[in-house]
Amino acid sequence: MVGLVAVGLPAALLIRLLTVAATLALARRARTCRWVALVGSMLASLLTVTVALEVIASGLSVEGVLVRHAASGIVFDYAVTPLSAWFLMVLGVVAIPTALYSAAYFSHSVVASRIAVVGTAFNVLVGSLEAVFTASGVVAFLCAWEVMTLATAALVATEHQERASRRAAYLYLVMSHIGTGCLVAGFLVLAGQAGSLSFSALLSGHVVSGPLRDGLFALFFVGFGVKAGVIPLHVWLPEAHPAAPSSVSALMSAVLITAGIYGLYRVCGFGLGVPDQNWALALMAVGMLSAILGVLYALTQTDLKRLLAYSTIENSGIIVLGLGAAMMALAHDQRALATVAVAASLTHVLNHAIFKGLLFLGAGSVVMATGTRQIEQFGGLLRRMPWTGLFFLIGALSISGLPLLNGFPGEWLTFQALLLGFTATPGLVRLNFPLAGAMLALTSALAAACFVRAFGISFLALPRSPAAGSAHESPLLMLVPQAWLATLCVGLGLVPGVALRALEGVIVSLPGLQLTSPMAEGAWGMASGIGSFDHVVPGIFGVAVLSALAFAALLTVRREAVARRVPTWACGGDLTARTEYTATAFSKPLLMIFRAVYRPRRQVDSLADVSPYFPQEVRYRTEIEPTFERYMYAPLVRLVLGSARGMRVLQAGSLHTYLAYVLVLAVILLIWLGGTT
């Protein structure tokens, strides 16, 4: 076992490289190529997960060298710290079922001629994510970071014949490069101050201080925030996620986002020394904003994958909020509180990856069966795709944070940290905690509404389109991964203690954190360790809620009532899909309540032949204000384009002008520098 851990990562990398080579060599034979790429990916992921689990269990880092080039002195070495191992495990848990799913899904959704490219990009993406999580130096980290960005862009542009895909890939690249630019700048300054390029020296926390430290924090926050998809840096996310093939969306949403979170943890949270209170406030504010706006935007989407993408922003916000709370606690030296907040945030990283992966895979099945992503075209899918429906339901219940499922532990711990934060911190900033708690409560409620809508409109009632009516259940190969993830949802919801116990080793490895009491009570219970009313066993809690509901149902049943089975009353007409509640209608009341945020524009046209009182057809259009795109990014883009246009005057295209530049510059330089002695 020890031997495997020592060579696990290089071996995984080797497998990936061989897989990529084989995939490209077999490009002509689509079927073989697909299987080689995805089985290779699964094997490599299996290895890394083994290493990760071993590191988490033992709490000891594994270090080694990946590539050493003696002539140039370049060494890419890796270090699997417990924190890295946690993220590596999250990656593996999602990447393995996703690869299995893709083996069937790609044969339907990706053109045969592009299988090799997509398979390669898939492997490169997972491999570079592994490298990002385990890099122990700046150069390796930034290389892996860029490769990850490019692989994702290639996958987003899989259907590059469509304009929307190209636009999404372009937007993603632009935003990513802004982020990477910030990261490069930040790391270079940090390396200059530390005199070293290895993370152990760079992120020891004593390298920089004062305003420079604040500046670096801001750079890294923007750099990692772009990948984490937090508002207002989220604009690429709702475009890129729907454009990619669904299984890739699952990977992006579950793990790519996590790369940003990992960076925030590694550098902003625990790499620049004891956090400043203002940093924590910034993180909490951004987290809150992302959570509430993410779910609000998700609520109005009619594209299933866009809806899930916005929900990713929401969950990313919750994770960042937890980290912000931890940093706030550290700034006030409240270590126990910080421990709870970090546990909350990291638990949610794992759980979000699982249920969001599940939901995206489910969405992929639905999209494959119906050929559209529009919720309004679905309906009645539960009867035609019972298994997919069941798994999607489990995912939807998880993401709503209901007990018995795995969305609950993370959100409960976050609430716990926020509620305890009020008493633990001094001054006015403590008001931040109850505010965040209230926001989070609202977010959870809205998320539940959002997924009631997503599930109800998609899977219940009658089919709203012929495509939905003729939908078929997905092949077994696509159902097994979903079943696995759904099992994890239920399992981690029932026995959150397993994950929390594993997390203890990760928590003590972070600087400034310590464990005052165990996080878990047995496998079934959770305990945040501080405060008095903080122990919960989700299993019992859930069963209690369920039995209370059952009891209430029992009370309402009257003895003398006789059940009569009749068709649904349709006001005397036929019952068709047109009488159904639509997704737009479902979210309308919330749209009106949050009018101030959405600023919706509605347009009702009624087309009438004879008299306006007898319309032939009524058309209803509604759209919500894209606030960030319009008021933040549009002026920025205008500024950049404007200055570029201004500079184009210099580039006149005339030979003589260019020669004149040379002459004038030469004369100026000669006058300025020449004849000084």
């Binding site: 006149a652 295209g653 030979l655 003589h656 030469a666 004369v667 000669l670 006058i671 020449g674 004849g675």
Partner: protein, 215 residues
Amino acid sequence: MTANILIFCAAGMLVTAYLMVGQKALFTTIRLYGVQSLLLGIVATTIAIAESRPELFVTAALTVTLKAILIPWFLMRTVDRIGIHREIEPFLSVPASLLVCLGLTVVGYRVSTGFQEGARGVGHHLIGVALSLLLIGLFLMVTRKKAITQILALLTVENAVFLVALGVTSGMPLIVELGISFDVILAVLVLGVLVRRIVGRFESMDVSRLSKLKG
């Protein structure tokens, strides 16, 4: 005596450059370039005799055969074949051009005072002339439209660089000289062909029309 000859020749080169700026007829301009190259050859020969460095004779011979005879002959042939003999209106009128060149000469001389004095006590003048020549050559390139004049301006710049090399280091190693000469031949040949092409395509030698090629 040596110093006098050097300064006289250098001054002559500057004068030919001024005449090129003031001249519109292409034949005369080419001949002026020939004279300029001849003077450069004399400079090289003088230094070769004064410092008894026989390899500089080769340089001088190369300069005279190539730049004073062969290249002018080739360019005149090109002009003859094309049948365009005069430079049309330059971007800047002749009097204004001469004034600007005066300023450039001042700059060149001002800068040359920053160099260390050469072994023969004339280094300062040679460098001053060479820098002025270089700037004037660049200026010619900027203001003239005919492709032939552009070539001549480039060659003037090349002469200036040569003069600097002679003035500061009393000549470059022979292999470098040979390389540069070869470069010049190739440049002139290629540019000559290019000129024919431009004329064939645009019915004109006006380089400023090339900007129409932009997409």
